[in-house]
Symmetry: C2
Subunit: 114 residues, 2 copies
DNA sequence: ATATTGAGATACCAAATGGTATCACTTATG
DNA sequence: CATAAGTGATACCATTTGGTATCTCAATAT
């Protein structure tokens, strides 16, 4: 399984970057505008934007001398689906428990879990 | 917003750890058993297990001199929900595009996209 | 009692990460 | 043209990260 979603999870691994995504969910912003919302230099924010861009989570479009960064939420879908695979355990676990209990009450084959 | 889900996303940020989660989805395993599935030392695997445990993604139970690591898929739920917030854009964007197109067809202010 | 085995702890290392400061480049504006 | 503003690029730094090697401790087996 080629880890094409590694860049996505990598990007999501930093709280600042997650905040940036939320921020860009409101509206597209230039680097400077994004940086205004954080207590760090523009250069640092730019680095985060590069990581986000590597993960395909944002799109960057030039507008005059500015760069407008906009959210590409669709890139989150693979990550959502990866995690979603595990939801089989959330309900399934209760289900398995129920099944196990039922099996125990009707199981007189002599099977013993030694 | 206190980043209680930072440990979760942190844990998901490494491909080995994601593989471990999948692995433990099959069945609980000791450290050595997990390590058998990877090309690295037991100590390295143990470190990953600690990170996973910090994120609440696995539970560790002693069994004799062994430690059995089992998946706690429920801890993934907050991460799934965080990402899920963005699905409003998946359909909404198409919707916005549709709206924008409709607006353009009735908008004769002279705006022109190159 | 003595190996043997599974795991924890520590020290150590190279590389990646998150940040700063600084300079060069490009685009607007006087 | 000169200057200012927005960005890109680079060098640099401290810390974290992912890994190894090694030692000790606890539990099992002989």
């Amino acid at each position: 399984m080629p880890d094409h979603l590694q860049p996505v999870f990598r990007a999501l691994g930093d709280p600042t970057r997650r905040d940036i995504l939320r921020l860009l969910g409101q509206e597209p912003m230039t680097i400077a505008e994004v940086a205004d919302n954080f207590d760090m230099t523009r250069a640092a924010v730019k680095k985060h934007l590069v990581v986000l861009s590597d993960g395909g989570l944002i799109e960057v479009a030039p507008r005059g001398r500015e760069k407008v960064n906009s959210l590409n939420a669709l890139a989150l879908k693979p990550a959502l689906e990866w995690i979603g695979w595990f939801d089989q355990f959330w309900d399934a676990r209760l289900d398995a428990l129920k099944t196990a209990i039922e099996k125990e009450t009707t199981d007189d084959t002599g099977h013993n879990n030694g």
